[in-house]
């Protein structure tokens, strides 16, 4: 698919529809039909990411409702993935697929075995399981396929041993490897882990124990930044991932009750902080302003395949001295890291929180930097500061290809803005409400 036509010609809804459909196209292109596993990126030989599979499973219902895929095909794709995970090697061996109901972060797309010595990932398993439960809530017909979807989804969720992932501690660990056991990292500060904790608290079989959720939220930082009160997390994606599945509008846990806010409003404030940071542009990167902002996790120019300057990590900026480029990194505001790379897909995924800011920003980015759209999809990251001049025209460095996480959250957040489909499905999930209540949430639809 070529790049989009000039965005000025499209009304907002048509523009969103084009971007959403193109983003969904990633999952059509990147799936292995036999295993249902979906590639992490569009690059050659990319392995599957279990989180991307979670997003894929959540986008199939969107595609059915939008008429981009038949229900039968969506159910078949879903069933392929669920069958693969249900039958996968759960021995926890170095070449297995998972352990204790969790899965290794990256898997071979064809065989489903662990690759890159990746870790058994708690958050990525949670994203996968959220997709599994979304599918279960959508495929409610009494056909054999849809019945099997529901049965397998229940099996996969119930066998996740969330309690084991606490490793006897107060909070859930981030990962585990057969070679060295649990990784050192814990969850510190606000992050996308609300979804993880809600699923872990809602489990009828292996729920987390103790005041695990409170122990995590006690690491939060409530800050006044640029005159906005915000639960701090630097990158945009942190303010989005849980919201792709959970309708947190008006819901408050103990922390948010004390602050008289909620996580949805907080994500809106995070948009304002991001925009204000770009307006101030403290490190004087090219392109930043109120219509061009958005720091998040994504790829940057350092050592990126296809970069015009592979291997170049530094630039000397006037008055600033050496400036460092990053590769794939979680960029954030206002403390950084910031190397001038913006993530247009992360901006678009903030659509439900601040549509009046997001749509004009996406339009501006696409107009100023048409190279950020390939195959109709927004790139993971682009960097005008690291650009080059071709035929007297300044072009930004653009991350080649696409990442499944970016495309998945774009499909879901546009849909939540348009029809609330993903939120409605998960509101009906029998495990979500108990999980939210277990975390102390009240109010809103709950």
């Amino acid at each position: 698919m070529p790049g989009l036509p000039m965005t000025d010609d499209l009304p907002d809804d048509a523009l969103l529809d084009e971007l959403q459909r193109a983003a969904f196209g990633y999952f059509v292109d990147a799936v292995d039909p036999a295993t249902g596993l979906v590639a992490d990126t569009s690059r050659d030989h990319a392995p599957a990411s279990i989180a991307v599979v979670g997003f894929a499973l959540s986008t199939y219902p969107v595609a059915v409702e939008r008429g981009w895929m038949t229900r039968t095909e969506a159910a078949a794709r879903t069933l392929a993935a669920l069958r693969f995970f249900a039958r996968s090697d759960q021995s926890g061996g170095a070449q297995a697929t998972g352990y204790k109901g969790f899965y290794y972060h990256f898997l071979d797309r064809g065989t489903g075995t662990r690759v890159w010595s990746s870790e058994l990932s708690m958050i990525d398993t949670a994203l996968l399981i959220a997709g599994v439960l979304t599918a279960s809530c959508y495929f409610q017909a009494s056909t054999p396929d849809e019945r099997t979807v529901r049965e397998l989804a229940d099996l996969l969720y119930r066998r996740v041993d969330w309690r084991w992932a606490q490793d006897g501690g107060d909070t859930i660990r981030q990962g585990w490897k057969p070679e060295c056991g649990f990784l050192h990292y814990g969850w510190e500060g606000y992050s996308e882990a609300i979804l993880l904790y809600v699923l872990a608290l809602g489990s009828p079989t292996h729920p987390i124990v103790g005041d695990c959720y409170h122990a995590w939220t006690s690491t939060y930082q409530w800050e006044n930044q640029y005159d906005h009160a915000v639960l701090y997390a630097g990158p945009l994606f942190v303010h989005q991932f849980s919201h792709a599945w959970l309708d947190l509008r008006g819901l408050q846990d103990r922390f948010m009750r004390d602050k008289r806010s909620d996580y949805f409003e907080n994500s809106r404030q995070a948009v304002f902080v991001q925009r204000e940071y770009a307006r101030r542009n403290p490190y004087e990167f090219v392109g930043y302003d109120t219509s061009c902002w958005g720091l998040s996790a994504g790829e940057g120019p350092a050592n990126a395949p296809g970069s015009a300057r592979v291997g170049e990590h530094w630039q000397t900026a006037p008055d600033r001295g050496p400036r460092r480029w990053f590769g794939y990194a979680a960029r954030g505001v206002p403390y950084g890291p910031d190397d001038g790379t913006l993530s247009p897909s992360a901006v678009l995924a903030s659509l439900p929180f601040a549509p009046e800011l997001v749509v004009p920003t996406v339009r501006t980015m696409m107009t100023r930097y048409p190279e950020i759209v390939t195959a109709g999809r927004l790139t993971s990251g682009f960097n005008p500061t690291h650009g080059e001049t071709v035929d007297n025209q300044r072009r930004a460095w653009v991350s080649p290809g696409h990442f499944g996480l970016d495309q998945g959250v774009v499909v879901m957040m546009i849909e939540n803005h348009r029809s609330e489909l993903s939120w409605r499905l998960m509101r009906d999930c029998p495990y979500v409400a108990p999980g939210l209540r277990g975390a102390g949430f009240t109010g809103g639809w709950l």
């Binding site: 010595s117 060295c180 050192h184 990292y185 690491t219 930082q221 409530w222 006044n224 600033r320």
Partner: protein, 497 residues
């Protein structure tokens, strides 16, 4: 040991070669064991108030701080900053100073000269002039109210143990067999190691790793935790990680040294990060992992003073040991092993032990600073500690890129964060990351001590432009939050009357 005029002057001050211990008094109001910052502060404070004081020092007066700690390290850090700034001069419009060559011997000689100069204040002669009986030798308690030193027995009404701490050697196979440096030996270097490994990402490790790297040693720093400075807030630690990487240090977080080997004259260090094994070759290893209290050899059992090798002397909130006649101060008993804490607790013991004071350790407002570039300073409660005590807290943040002086100085990496109890303007604590954070934290410390809130700080006039202006900006951000819609409406009505 280096022998030069500076070292001879320092020795003459802190351990005079011809010193003769005085004839002991019949009984002392206060006997102090240890002549580091805590002991010296207590000795001067007690003597100034008329107490009969004896001070016993095993090695050199001035302790770690003067001889192998704060003083020499900050001298080297300053040299490394100047060297780094010379190479960075072009950023300020100053022509690149061509052919800048490092004079490592000159840097170390400067350090020794400054150390000798500062040692005059810690000298035995000055103590004696203040009326303190100074004894050199190993101290050993012989009873609950008496202590022996160099053949003499000193009776006391009260005693204070301030024997400090020493570097803690991590149990790494092969480390002891290889040549390694600690803060007690690194200042004896005569040549800059080409490749340096620093073990430990605490304050000491980070400071010296950055300084030696800036001086030209290719430095790798290994920290077993995912972030540096585990006692600091994670954003501060993250900025430090980025700053060290910017300087070109090889940063190995979440990494443990598993073994040190010497093969064919080369020092090889095996590392592991999760399941990733690697080996690096270095010319020197600096151990910057933790400290252990000096509690050995004091015959503490004879005085019934409880202690253990990790926490040191056990004290209550008034710094009393399990023997009510005996107190402790400084590194040997407190968690925060800093010079300024040692001095503060030393003076506290004088007031509590001799003058019926009831000053409590838990009520001390203790700032601290890691002297990297940027510096990281902290005072009071962290957000985590406030949450643990169920205190609702909001943090007012001013990134330094908003501060005029930081921008014009070219030092705008960092922030001021002030933690305030919700519903009040009461400052609970603060973290500052800035070129001179150690200087800036003093204003917040004074405000906390005096019970001054953010509302008042917003009206404190600062000279302009200064980096402490960031504190006022944070206070003003707080004041803007007090302009509720109702208040704004009333103000509008008043203006429209």
């Amino acid at each position: 040991m280096i022998e030069d005029a500076s070292e001879r002057e320092r020795a003459a001050n802190v351990r005079p070669p011809a010193w003769t211990n005085p004839e002991p008094a019949e009984r002392y109001h206060l006997v102090i064991v240890g002549g580091g910052p805590a002991g010296l502060a207590a000795a001067h404070a007690a003597a100034a108030r008329g107490a009969k004081v004896a001070l016993i020092e095993r090695a050199r007066l001035g302790g770690t701080d003067l001889n192998v700690g704060t003083v020499p390290s900050k001298a080297i850090i300053q040299s490394s900053r100047v060297f780094a700034e010379m190479r960075d001069a072009v950023r300020y419009g100053v022509p690149d100073p061509a052919e800048v060559e490092l004079d490592f011997a000159g840097i170390m000689a400067r350090m020794r000269r400054l150390r000798a100069r500062i040692s005059r204040d810690a000298g035995a002669a000055r103590l004696a002039a203040a009326g303190v009986d100074v004894f050199f030798g190993d101290a050993s308690f012989v009873a609950g109210d008496a202590i022996a030193v160099a053949g003499a027995t000193l009776g006391f009404r009260k005693a204070m143990i301030a024997t400090g701490s020493r570097p803690h050697l991590p149990p790494i196979p092969g480390l002891v067999d290889a040549t390694f440096l600690t803060n007690e030996t690194v200042f004896e270097l005569t040549a800059l190691p080409e490749r340096l490994l620093v073990i430990g990402g605490g304050p000491l490790g980070c400071e010296l790793a950055q300084a030696f790297h800036r001086l030209g040693a290719r430095t790798t720093i290994v920290q077993d935790l995912p972030l540096f400075l585990p006692k600091e807030e994670r954003d501060a630690a993250q900025i430090l990680s980025n700053a060290l990487a910017r300087d070109g240090l090889e940063v190995r977080l979440n990494t443990t040294v598993t073994r040190v080997r010497v093969e064919r004259g080369e020092t090889l260090v095996d590392l592991i990060s999760d399941d990733y094994h690697s080996t690096i070759t270095v010319d020197a290893i600096l151990n910057g992992v933790g400290r252990r209290p000096n509690v050995e050899g004091l015959n503490l059992g004879a005085a019934e003073v409880d202690h253990d090798p990790v926490a040191g002397i056990h004290v209550d909130d008034l710094l009393r040991t399990t023997n009510r006649r005996i107190y402790a101060a400084g590194d040997v008993c407190v968690e925060h092993k800093f010079t300024h804490v040692a001095e503060a607790t030393g003076r506290m013991v004088v007031r509590n032990a001799l003058f019926l004071g009831r000053e409590r350790l838990s009520e001390l407002v203790v700032p601290w600073c890691t002297f990297t570039d940027p510096e990281i300073a902290h005072v009071g409660a962290s957000v985590r500690e406030a949450h643990d005590r169920d205190i609702p807290v909001t943090t007012y943040v001013i990134p330094l890129h908003e501060v005029t002086r930081a921008i014009v100085d070219g030092h705008d990496l960092g922030f001021v964060k002030i933690h305030v109890r919700d519903g009040t303007d009461r400052i609970l604590g603060a973290t500052i990351v800035a070129r001179h954070a150690g200087e800036m934290i003093g204003e917040i410390t004074a405000a906390i001590m005096a019970g001054v809130g953010l509302r008042t700080l917003a009206h404190v006039i600062h000279a302009s432009p200064v980096q402490t202006g960031a504190i006022q900006l944070a206070a003003q951000a707080f004041c803007r939050t007090q302009l509720t819609p109702t208040l704004k409406q009333r103000l509008r009505r008043w203006l429209a009357r």
